[in-house]
Symmetry: C2
């Protein structure tokens, strides 16, 4: 089987935004509350950031449980990695995730401002100033036969969709309204010319959209 490029557990507001405006160190999702946006995921037993036992094991858990399944590398945009813009002022910033990031694979951060690679536990961050197809080729080589996760944010996913590089997308549409922010889509229908889509309402209130290539 070939190495797929997969979007996993990406959550948008009901009006199509993956994050709010005015990202900062204190507000990784800008004016959006990630706790509200991602409440469906945080309630599951398999949520990677869960620190206590318990959690649900129904539909939503199948989605969070699949987060790392057969994934050998991640690609993310610079704004997922941190709130900085422009040349790096401070190489001490190593992402939002502390000493044990939830990726456990090589991670390729797309940026116009490269910096040296570094490792935290079993996650290694690489900083690459390349186009989406080149980043995907690098990530596939690092994934050693496994799939590659496209981690977001919304702008990065749009770039890879525009380059027709995405094989599957799981997007959870949350019942939160943001009004403005970083937009993934006006409507999921925009992707139906290129993708099949299962629309699956969850008892938690989100609606899972599961896309795969036609």
């Amino acid at each position: 089987m070939s190495q797929l490029l997969r979007v996993q557990n990406f959550t948008v507001s009901s009006d199509g935004f993956g994050a709010g405006e005015h990202q900062s160190l204190d507000r990784p999702f800008g004016h959006a509350d990630p706790g509200a946006l991602m409440a469906w995921a945080g309630a599951t037993a398999s949520w990677p950031n869960r620190t206590d036992p318990g959690g649900s094991r129904g539909l939503d858990d199948y989605l969070t449980r699949d987060f790392a399944h057969n994934i050998g590398a991640e690609i993310m945009g610079r704004n997922k990695f941190g709130p900085q813009r422009g040349p790096w002022q401070d190489l001490e910033w190593q992402g939002w995730w502390g000493h044990e990031p939830p990726f456990h694979t090589p991670v390729f951060v797309l940026t116009h401002h490269e910096r040296p690679s570094f490792a935290l536990s079993d996650t290694t961050f690489h900083f690459v100033d390349v186009d989406p197809a080149t980043a995907l080729a690098q990530a596939r080589a690092a994934a050693e036969g496994r799939d590659v996760r496209l981690g977001g944010g919304a702008t990065t996913i749009r770039e890879f969709l525009d380059a027709d590089l995405v094989d599957t997308l799981h997007v959870a549409v949350s019942p939160v309204v943001l009004g403005s922010g970083v937009r993934l889509w006006e409507s999921p229908d925009e992707l139906l010319d290129r993708f099949h889509c299962d629309v699956v309402p969850s008892p938690s209130g989100v609606t899972h959209h599961l896309f795969w290539r036609r």
Copy 2:
């Protein structure tokens, strides 16, 4: 996390039967047509028995994709292993699955008629004449920290439910009517006193029932 006992991708008819009557060498599911009963699973990209590329990657695929995820052993009833009854007449029977069974772990076959263990590829079959709790203890030890799959059939699942040993169940209810056979339940509601349940209709026509302990 503890080692769960999980029922995965078990399919029943709309009237609650996991297999039909009159199982035989030619009819592993008796008068039921497994191709109709399991059509939802066979159409997915991740179905373990798939021999060609392609297949869907929507909701149903998340279920089949999870079949082996963190599973370290399987427990099955003797009637899942073969159509024979009573003492073994022929030790040449090694199951329905050919030289490459889809389990890839130790498998514990519950039977009153023990026989020597054997291996096919990376699956090893053990034959044990023990009660459900003892079988589960043996399977957990063999699973080396991973979960145990309870593979069926319906009678075996009932025995483990009656002993309150099952942690999660995924049962797909197919739009096929059988009228008679090996019954799992009269209604999924029978389990609601002990389990949460997400009821998730799939575009393929089956309705997934995802149970986890209260």
